[in-house]
Assembly symmetry: C2
Homo-oligomer: 460 residues x 2
């Protein structure tokens, strides 16, 4: 990185907040993307840590002057390589924009700076017992700004949707350096094109979010977890819409292959409580009253039994609930060492059983396995391409393409929540027509005429 640029950055944020020594920069060059598929970071970078939106704006203006890319960085928990600088860049970390700006009890909203972590937000929410923020993508090290631009999802989408449902306003530094506010403490806004909704999910390519206003909801204090076992994925999938049609909306409905669950349980030294059947649904419910909770749990069990469930158990204590959730959460870590790629497709939820069969058939064809867990009520399936004899197998690309094609066959998406980033950009043509990709490039150009912000992400 040119000395001149480094000096100007020091002029904006001060000596202490510019890192130009490669040895101190390593933790800013990668995110949580799988080792075997992540792009290689360009090491000719400089890390800058502004403390205000104004400083972010000045950095972006400087970048436009020198035509050097800026790669915004949140908690580094992303899974699509969006935060990895692949050309010589200014890596702009939001970590110092870490203040809770305002808890607004009357509008049921909270405004936080972009660098506040999910953990920090949840801590703050403990102070305001009655209300809660529903989105939880798993890793509490994620920063709110990153969750906005990655449109984070997670297990609770059944009941509460994704980030897009709850982000009402953002303060954002545009790629040309202007500081603007999109949206606000508003439920309805039909003035102009909705640039707020373009910003959500834009992966740091259309602007740098510096502040976000999030909708809050009344907390239902009674939590229960149910584990119900079935012989087949079809039986499990078929019962899901019946439950939703009755107006029972669990916080989460998770699907697990038994084999996968057992591997995960063993990995963390737990005993998996289900023994009958081949697949499980895990229901998490949060209800206003204890009566509601038990009535709904009972009704779910009843409906599952009518649809062929072979066993069910209620995790009564919070310890039992935690154990179950840990087994579900550790599926990824149990397999991590041997993973080439963690896929993240979604199909219409009713197509999940057929899609699972397709995934299995593709794995069998390549003489390998592909463990599956999924947010079944929103059709979001996570499965893996595994190492073969400790190496990335020759067939990995073909297998991935075939799995993507299977998802597309049902009108599905290649990535439900992890994002396009730098790792899935090459697959855009599998989901979108040339004209759609051309429009996306035009949108990028409208926001970022000099292609300064996070180039090589989503579109070329």
């Amino acid at each position: 990185m040119k000395k001149e640029i480094i000096n100007e950055l020091v002029g904006i944020v001060g000596q202490d907040w510019v890192v130009s020594d490669l040895s101190q920069m390593q933790s800013y060059l990668y995110d949580e993307t799988e080792l075997r598929i992540r792009p290689i970071a360009n090491e000719d970078c400089v890390v800058v840590k502004p403390s205000t939106a104004q400083e972010v704006s000045e950095v972006v203006k400087l970048a436009n002057k020198h035509l050097v890319p800026v790669v915004p960085r949140g908690g580094g928990t992303g899974l699509c390589g969006a935060a990895i600088p692949t050309s010589s860049s200014i890596v702009l970390s939001l970590e110092r924009l870490n203040k809770i700006v305002e808890f607004d009890n009357k509008n049921l909203m909270i405004t936080v700076e972009a660098g506040v972590t999910l953990e920090g937000l949840l801590e703050e929410m403990k102070e305001h017992g009655k209300l809660f923020f529903p989105v939880h993508p798993g890793d509490e090290g994620a920063q709110i700004g990153g969750m906005v631009v990655e449109n984070a999802g997670g297990v609770r989408a059944v009941k509460h949707g994704i980030m897009r449902s709850h982000v009402k306003g953002v303060e954002v530094v545009l790629p040309t350096g202007e500081l603007v506010n999109l949206g606000g403490k508003l439920i309805k806004n039909n003035m102009g094109y909705d640039l707020l909704h373009m910003m959500i999910g834009s992966e740091g390519t259309l602007g740098i979010v510096t502040k976000a206003t999030l909708k809050l909801y009344a907390k239902n204090p009674n939590i229960g977890t149910l584990l119900v076992s079935f012989d087949t994925a079809e039986q499990a999938a078929d019962v899901v819409p019946l439950i939703l049609q009755e107006g029972i909306i669990p916080l989460a409905i998770e699907y697990m292959d038994r084999e996968t669950a057992l591997v995960s349980a063993e990995h963390i030294g737990q005993t998996y409580p289900a023994t009958k059947g081949e697949v499980d649904l895990m229901f998490i419910l949060d209800e206003a009253t204890e009566d509601d909770l038990y009535a709904k749990c009972e009704r779910i069990v009843e409906m599952c039994e009518e649809n062929g469930a072979v066993d069910s158990l209620i995790a009564e204590t919070s310890k039992d609930q935690r154990n179950l959730l840990e087994i579900r959460s550790n599926v990824y870590t149990a397999y991590k060492e041997n993973i080439v790629d963690a896929l993240d497709m979604a199909v219409p939820s009713a197509s999940v059983p057929s899609f699972l069969k397709d995934l299995k058939a593709i794995a069998v064809k390549y003489n390998t396995e592909s463990a599956v867990v999924g947010h079944i009520a929103d059709g979001n399936v996570h499965n893996f391409i595994m190492l073969k004899d400790g190496k990335v197998p020759d067939y990995a690309d073909d297998m991935r393409n075939e799995m993507y094609a299977a998802a597309r066959k049902y009108g599905g998406t290649i990535t439900a929540e992890h994002g396009t980033g730098k790792t899935r950009m090459k697959h855009m043509h599998q989901q979108y027509s040339p004209r759609e990709i051309e429009i996306m490039k035009g949108v990028k150009k409208a926001f970022d005429p000099n292609n300064i912000l996070n180039p090589g992400t989503i579109v070329d």
Copy 2:
């Protein structure tokens, strides 16, 4: 309109579905925008009524060849002049795309062609008793395609949000003629930029929606309506967040000035049931069980009384409920004859009382009145600029600008649900910076390089 173009249109859709005689075209030239503010239609138009998305595509390609504008038209119930052709145009009516495509019980979604009316959708939903579609902007003559591109709202946004929350997929003819599908039967999709969310609210400028897939929800069969009276708007507004914080989420919370309510009641020959106090909140609740309904109504009344309510009544019979709703719904028609402009601003809901004071002060300043009703829980206020001695007063523009400025002072929006269209485009600079408007123009250009679709709407 050139004979050549008319002939080519006949070639696409057949003689019966092209209207080029001005006398038969009148009902296609205007929408429901107030007479005194609506733009004047250019009468050198031709109306075309394709019956398939393929035909829509061919019309749009023809328009690109001749560089003649296309103005898409739904039910004509819009309130911002978006459907009024202000230059010599092809008016493309979606009325023949009127089929229910698929009721998908397993995915809890319904797919309809764009020209299906809200009335038609509600009729269809009666066949599927357990599920319902929540958005209701008031006029059931609205077509679903129009509701998508206008991002329709209405009274039920408190509980269910707006169209944006429920539109999961659209089939759309792009301004360059290609037919594409955006989104799908998906709850999560993070591949690429979200063009679906650009299409929602784009007012027929970025594409012609030909089909929409909408999310459905379990119907709560127990409906109740509560009317609670207060002395001041502040008292009424202050109780709203307390109710939401308890997890009681009514279908609707409507605010009415007493004076306004009385005018409306008289207009339709009803007796308004409330007599004490100066303002009312009307709560509509839909709950799963009768017990839930009564418990929540009681709790609301209790909380209102703790916050200064002077009277309350429950509309027990569906006749009483209908009467109350009719009074609320007829506020607009009661004043219609004397309305210059029906405004549609929104502010953060906690700012509603201050905003109402501002609106009143502005009306007093101009020695006029401005009746107010509002969706108070989402901060959306509807008020009027009235005729003076039967004429549009000189101060109308100044008064409107001052009211818009008042909304902006609280971080509000000029239009919460009616849209920008051709009537509010000139006010874009009151809400957005030059750079934001420039980006919006760039987005339009990315979709519509020849500026074919509905030019002069949202952006120049």
